[in-house]
């Protein structure tokens, strides 16, 4: 029993490692295919071919691609993600500076998205096919089809330019105080939350509608329980599996969306850094950042996987008895 479990965990870890290896390989070689030379970009058009060649040699860019790859992967396995061509700063250090901003931004946006999506899904599921439900799904559809960038611009226009509630641009660290810090994050978080909100509301509404049709809900009603109790104690938990899957996938995609939002609001996060690194063809840095982002994505989804049986214990026992007598 314990050994099979250990084995299963081991297999899972191996699978994650394999996924990450594939991602880093793909990332490395697709960057190698990109036109543009970091040395040329750094030195500018005026530089002589000699100077460019010297810099290339310094950066190790003159080596064959396979050799460069082996070098990089070897470093990664020892926890060394390499150094940025542009600044010479180590990628790990860059991450240490920038990741907290992005993580905070994503967490905040998810709190906003879930805080709105869960009540909206509950209301829509209870009033399905009424005006309320339709109004909500129209709103959801709008949120889904509006790019984060547009939401961001509208927010800046209303909340900063007209009302002056929040700064339009720039980042205030925690050391500036909680108020200014949160003010600098709130608008980008809202802009980022739009898509998540829409996806979560749709998934949860559909699952709730299905759950509310179940016999055990009728039984709960026949017990004389209040609608609130039925919703939160009986209907919600069996309806969370789809939502958890969606959260896993969405959080992974959000890391990509931060590129736009962080640039728009001038936040010093990973997304903003990544955009800069790609433009400068700072291969080592891009590879390092992408690898870390992919790792986060894989870990978030592994976490969701681990959470399934906690949300619905039937999954745990059906897995245990799979292949056994039913």
């Amino acid at each position: 029993m314990n050994r099979t479990r250990l084995l299963r965990v081991g297999l899972k870890v191996l699978r994650l490692a394999a996924v990450l290896l594939v991602v880093s390989t793909l990332c490395f070689f697709s960057l190698a295919l990109l036109p543009g030379d970091p040395a040329r970009l750094m030195l500018g058009d005026a530089a002589t071919a000699d100077a460019v060649a010297t810099l290339r040699a310094q950066l190790g860019l003159d080596l064959p691609t396979m050799e460069r790859f082996g070098h990089w992967i070897g470093g990664v396995l020892q926890g060394d993600l390499g150094e940025s061509y542009r600044t010479g700063q180590s990628v790990t250090e860059i991450l240490g500076e920038r990741a907290p901003v992005t993580v905070e931004l994503i967490v905040l946006s998810q709190v906003i998205a879930l805080g709105l999506a869960v009540p909206a899904a509950i209301v829509a599921a209870h009033r399905r096919r009424t005006g309320t439900d339709r109004a909500l799904s129209l709103w959801v559809f709008t949120a889904l089809s509006t790019p984060d960038f547009v939401v961001g611009v509208v927010l800046i226009w209303i909340l900063s330019v007209h009302l002056g509630w929040f700064p339009a641009n720039g980042y205030a660290p925690w050391s500036d105080g909680v108020g200014p810090h949160l003010s600098s994050l709130i608008m980008p978080a809202i802009a980022l939350a739009g898509t998540s909100f829409a996806l979560y509301q749709r998934v949860l509404r559909a699952d709730l509608v299905e759950t509310l049709r179940q016999d055990y809900i009728e039984v709960a009603r026949a017990k004389g329980l209040s609608l609130t109790r039925i919703t939160f104690r009986h209907a919600l938990r069996p309806s969370l599996l789809g939502l958890s899957t969606q959260i896993g996938v969405t959080v992974g995609m959000l890391i990509g969306s931060t590129v736009v939002v962080e640039s728009l609001f001038g936040l010093p996060g990973i997304g903003d850094e990544l955009a800069g690194a790609v433009t400068a063809r700072d291969y080592v840095e891009v590879q390092g950042l992408v690898l870390v982002i992919a790792t986060c994505f894989v870990l978030v989804n592994a976490l969701v996987d681990v959470l399934y049986p906690v949300i619905d214990p039937r999954l745990a026992s059906s897995r245990r008895t799979r292949g056994g007598a039913r």
């Binding site: 179940q214 016999d215 055990y216 009728e218 039984v219 709960a220 009603r221 026949a222 017990k223 004389g224 329980l225 209040s226 104690r233 009986h234 938990r237 069996p238 619905d312 214990p313 039937r314 026992s317």
Partner: protein, 330 residues
């Protein structure tokens, strides 16, 4: 008998459907006294479930057009607010449903589902409710009740699940219990034990029971009075002895003849009823069974037979223009 617990008068339940109004229940009257077990039988789609769910109040004016009267202990159930009705549910009126697996919550441990019902009573604290829930599990015949308290529905057998459902239903000692095909999902031996449990509970807690079933054998052995439903109407009503031993309405006779019997050598071959139940959106004008009836006379096609008591047995009512003669039925 004292004042009836539940009184249903001329109940009509009409659903709005795409094809027009559908009368699932059409002019049904029914009495249930404390400690009495009333059976409702009929083919699939005859309106048994709609009748019991409406009589309990689970199906209300929001879901269908309802007319007639439903009185529980002298109170008009249809006129009550949602809150008033909810106060009765789980405390005074309870229901056991057909499929115990889908009726139990898939995640919450079964004991907790009983506790939740018990806690409707404000005097019940958590510890007391837990102890009482284990007592109830024991009472409905679940071995190792203490351990089963923490089990989830999928870990129990079908019979155990239905026992849990019954424990939930009787947790607060209701005076009226609806059981909608409570044993249909169970195998025969388990079925017998569950039905005995119902008998026992009705006797000991003097619960009024409405038992819906399409199984005449179940109704014959485990109820006191029976109503036979056909296409939304009651076609015959009376004590089990009167209705099932000397059926008068032709549909009841046909139903009885359709049961395979191994105990009566001479009536070994069942005679299935030909044809299908009528479309409830456009029912036949007269007796609804007439198109399938081997004994239909002219009046059956265009005049609705009234549900009237038999001349000799006042408690035995039937709706038929050409009833089965009493001697033949014996």
């Amino acid at each position: 008998m004292s004042e009836p617990l539940l009184q249903v008068r001329d109940l009509v339940v009409e659903f709005r459907t795409a094809n027009g109004p559908l009368r699932a229940v059409d002019g049904v009257s029914l009495d249930v006294a404390r400690g009495e077990r009333v059976g409702i039988v009929g083919e699939s789609g005859s309106g048994k479930s709609v009748l019991s769910r409406t009589a309990m109040g689970l199906l209300g004016r929001k879901d269908a057009r309802i007319s007639g009267e439903i009185t529980f202990r002298g109170q008009d159930l249809l006129a009550m607010s949602d809150k008033q009705r909810r106060d009765l549910w789980g405390r005074e009126i309870a229901m056991v449903f057909q499929d115990p697996l889908s009726s139990l919550h898939p995640i919450t441990p079964v004991g907790q589902q009983i506790v939740e019902t018990l806690r409707r009573d404000p005097a019940m604290d958590k510890t007391k409710a837990r102890a009482r829930a284990i007592e109830l599990l024991d009472m409905v015949g679940i071995p190792q009740a203490e351990r089963r308290f923490r089990s989830r529905a999928h870990e129990l057998s079908g019979g155990m699940r239905q026992r849990v459902m019954i424990a939930i239903a009787v947790a607060n000692s209701p005076s009226l219990l609806f059981a909608d095909e409570p044993t249909t999902a169970l195998d025969v031996t388990v079925q017998a034990r569950i039905l005995e449990l119902f008998d026992e509970l009705c006797r000991e807690l003097s619960i009024g029971l409405v038992m819906v079933s399409h199984d005449l054998g179940v109704v014959a052995r485990h109820t006191d009075a029976v109503s036979v439903m056909y296409a939304g109407r009651i076609s015959e009503q009376g004590t089990v002895d009167d209705v099932l031993r000397s059926p008068r309405m032709r549909y009841t006779s046909a139903l009885l003849a359709a049961i395979p019997r191994i105990d009566h050598g001479r009536r070994a071959l069942p005679q299935p009823i030909g044809g299908l139940p009528p479309d409830l959106v456009n029912p036949p004008a007269g007796c609804r069974f007439a198109p399938r009836c081997a004994h239909a006379v002219a009046a059956c096609a265009d005049q609705v037979p009234p549900l009237e008591p038999a001349a000799d047995v006042p408690g035995h009512a039937f709706a038929c223009w050409n009833p089965t003669p009493t001697e033949v039925a014996r």
